[in-house]
Amino acid sequence: MSKTDKHQPASRTGRLRADPRAFSAVRDKLGEQLRAMYGKLEDEPLPDRLLNLLRQLDQPRSRGKP
């Protein structure tokens, strides 16, 4: 992006960024962690209100709705 991305002496990852391979390894690892976190959320049981909504999908006809 802009030059601000290239000059970040205060950044803790500044040293790492000087080494693109190590930096991309860190980013890959963070990506794995992100997917793991997301996967756990997907596996969580759904709350009642969403389950109720799903049950409505399974009803053959809506009642009283045009």
Partner: protein, 184 residues
Amino acid sequence: MTLPPDLRDGLLQAIPSMRAFAISLTGNVDQADDLVQEAMVRGLAYIDQFQPGTNIQAWLFTILRNQFHTAYRKRRREVEDPDGGIAARLAVPPEQDGHLDVEDLKGALAQLPIDQREALLLVGAQGFSYEEAAAICGARIGTIKSRINRARTRLADLLGVENPEDIGADRVLKATIFNETCTR
């Protein structure tokens, strides 16, 4: 209402992912469930506008994402937190020693700008293509790529990760990095 079975199955299957996306995006389970519920109701109300043969999951994510932005703009006006300062203070700062855990990651995610956070989640966590994420966000593919790039860099910054070892033991990775740094 009666839905064609494939549409119905598509809706059912999308819910856990929509919820994971909404929780990761908002950092708040109640708010996330509101969003998923609203998106489902809205999706069902407008199901006629869905084009069969296209990706129903991407379609539902688009609805959910739009709902989020509407609610987010409204809330920002109410709370008057234009710089996200409150959000940043609410985020849990990572432990400087020890391994990164899920809470650290959640806290860091919360500090990413919204546009970067959603792009990263859509592609990096949910597994949408850049094209799909661009369509969902109403942005160009190049914009999505650059947002994701910045998001990843910022996450590493926020988490203070200087070394892949901080994230988890991985001997192969470590060996690779040491070899690389030696040859440089």
